[in-house]
């Protein structure tokens, strides 16, 4: 019996993929095919691959879900969402709905915002983390730089949190992202 891929994960680089896989694997989803951008970043690349994979899922009636992860990077969340929704509509693919197995996570400002918040939450530190500062360049005051080895555990930790009772100070896009991930995991289960 061959290994059957249930989820296609499209993201910019290994760190994003490790974080997302941490969450997905904790929820029992291990049959994942990974698509990461060889250049490590690139909104256009993630957008085109996400749309392509949604099209593939429809065309072949295979797979259960497509999960995309893309930094907001100061471009505006609604702008990013509209851009990808337009691309999907342009190919008659509907929109992205996590409950239908098409989930798009948009960390604002970037994944590091989520990683630092989750780390501070896990270690019960009170660190202020906003969604506009680029923490890729400089970690929040009082925190050590996030290492590669922190990414998957952050996804695993996120899986333990209840999206309806997140601690105060949680970045709004992470709150939204966790709710979407719960819907997505439910969708790919069936």
């Amino acid at each position: 019996m061959p290994r059957v891929c249930n989820i296609v994960l499209v993201c910019e680089g290994w760190r994003d993929s490790a974080f997302a896989r941490g969450f997905l694997e904790s929820s029992g989803n291990r049959r994942i095919t990974l698509k990461t951008n060889p250049r490590g970043s690139g909104h256009d690349w993630v957008k085109s691959q996400f749309v392509e994979e949604v099209a593939n899922m429809k065309r072949f009636s295979e797979g259960r879900g497509v999960l995309g992860l893309l930094d907001e990077d100061g471009q505006g969340v609604s702008e990013r969402k509209r851009d990808i929704a337009d691309a999907l509509r342009g190919r008659n693919l509907g929109s992205f709905l996590a409950s239908e197995g098409r989930c798009l996570l948009l960390p604002a400002r970037n994944l590091e915002t989520w990683l630092y918040w989750l780390k501070s939450c896990q270690s019960r530190m009170l660190v202020s983390i906003d969604e506009t500062t680029n923490f890729k360049r400089q970690p929040p005051t009082g925190m050590a730089r996030i290492a590669d080895r922190d990414c998957r555990p952050a996804g695993e930790y996120l899986h333990t949190l209840d999206h309806t009772q997140l601690p105060g100070g949680c970045p709004s896009m992470l709150r939204e992202g966790l709710a979407q991930l719960r819907d997505f995991v439910n969708a790919v289960r069936h």
Partner: protein, 396 residues
């Protein structure tokens, strides 16, 4: 972590330097020297750990064919978190190549620039960890590593840690057709041969020392890699052991000897045990074409696990790759391109994608670029001979 390898006058290496990171993927055409890198690491490991003599590991055939010099030089930089950067240097002189005679004329080890071990063909000095006081004098042996002969002593913990890191280095150039289920005798096998023909004996040996490795491998095989697999079952047979694998079946589990399995299944089992061993012990896992023999659905999951392990700091991975899945996943971030003229030395280039290479969805995949030899987009300049050949073809 292996940081840097230097080799001079060894096979296709002439003043060859290779820098390594936590994950390094060696790419290049056939005959460019990728497997030779792994073979050399295995030889240096065997020499330093006393598993082989210079006469057997570095016969005269390993000298560069176009080089008239009779000395080979190797240098290896290794970083260990607790102590710092070691530099190991070995020089071998082939005094009578026609009679396969060689001798070690220099073997040194330094830590953070200070000597721990200094040897030549006349004398050897062993320094203590503090690198202070009078060093101990040892008798040289022309064909055996002096470092391999240092006893475990409190005064030489740093040297022993270096040697230990070599013992934890696994180099695999899998050939499932050579793997036997029977492990003869009771010999303890610390590291398997690169082709893993002695895998059964190695598994028995490491299971005696650390049952966790075998159990972790069994668990992953059963859950992920090899559906239906239950567990390993070594069965004594006289002085030998036969490695059998138990598979789910009704009414009772099916017992199959290791060498009754397919090449792909054997490869999956060996890789799983190697990953479990490297996870448990740390060190480096060097794999020659790990995707060989594997079914397509198995390749990316294996590569992602190796990438995870390397980037999360569980163990270092150095691998060669030709498979497009490996190339597309790993070449851009971790690729090292080796090339050489047919009778010239190997050269090294770090793969760097040009900004325009992957900008949009119509961009070519890295593996397609490599298959066509269009490697300038990857920051690689081709050897003069192949440029000449392509321009000649264009003229014709």
């Amino acid at each position: 972590m292996l940081v840097r390898l230097y080799a001079d006058n060894y096979r296709c290496f002439s003043a060859f330097t290779l820098e390594l990171g936590s994950l390094s993927v060696l790419l290049g055409s056939n005959g460019s020297g990728k497997s030779t890198v792994l073979e050399l690491f295995a030889k240096l490991r065997d020499f330093v750990t006393g598993q082989g003599r210079s006469l057997d590991l570095f016969p005269p055939e390993t000298l560069c064919r176009w080089d008239k010099r009779i000395e080979q030089t190797f240098e290896l930089a290794v970083k260990l978190e607790e102590y710092g950067e070691y530099v190991y240097r070995l020089r071998i002189r082939h005094e009578a190549p026609e009679r396969s005679l060689n001798k070690v004329v220099e073997e040194t080890l330094s830590l953070n620039g200070k000597p721990l071990f200094e040897g030549n063909d006349k004398e050897i000095w062993l320094h203590n960890d503090e690198q202070a006081g009078n060093p101990v004098k040892m008798q040289p042996d022309w064909h055996i590593s002096g470092i391999s002969r240092v006893y475990d002593r409190n005064e030489n913990e740093k040297l022993i840690a270096f040697r230990k890191s070599f013992e934890n280095m696994l180099v695999l150039q899998l050939n499932p057709g050579l793997v036997r289920a029977v492990a003869p005798g009771k010999q303890f096998i610390e590291v398997p041969k690169p082709d893993c023909s002695d895998f059964s004996g190695w598994l028995r040996s490491i299971s005696m020392g650390d049952t966790l490795i075998g159990r972790r491998a069994e668990e992953n095989l059963a859950k992920e890699t090899l559906p239906g697999f239950l567990l390993f079952q070594p069965t004594p047979s006289g002085d030998s052991n036969i490695l059998e694998c138990l598979f789910e079946a009704k009414p009772k589990p099916l017992k199959l000897r290791l060498d009754e399995l397919s090449s792909g299944q054997i490869a999956l089992i060996i890789l799983e045990v190697a990953i479990a061993a490297a996870t448990e012990r740390g060190g480096a896992l060097l794999l020659d074409e790990p995707s060989n023999y594997l079914g397509l659905p198995e390749i990316q999951p294996l590569l992602v696990r190796l990438q995870d392990a390397a980037l999360e700091g569980r163990f270092q991975v150095v691998m060669t790759a030709h498979h497009p899945i490996a190339v597309d996943l790993l070449a851009a971030g971790y690729g090292v391109w080796l090339d050489r003229e047919p009778t010239g030395p190997a050269r090294v280039h770090r793969v760097q994608l040009a900004d325009s290479t992957m900008d949009d969805k119509s961009a070519m995949r890295v593996s397609d670029l490599m298959a066509r030899g269009w490697v300038s987009a990857l920051g690689i300049s081709r050897p003069a001979a192949s440029q000449e050949a392509s321009s000649t073809a264009a003229v014709q």
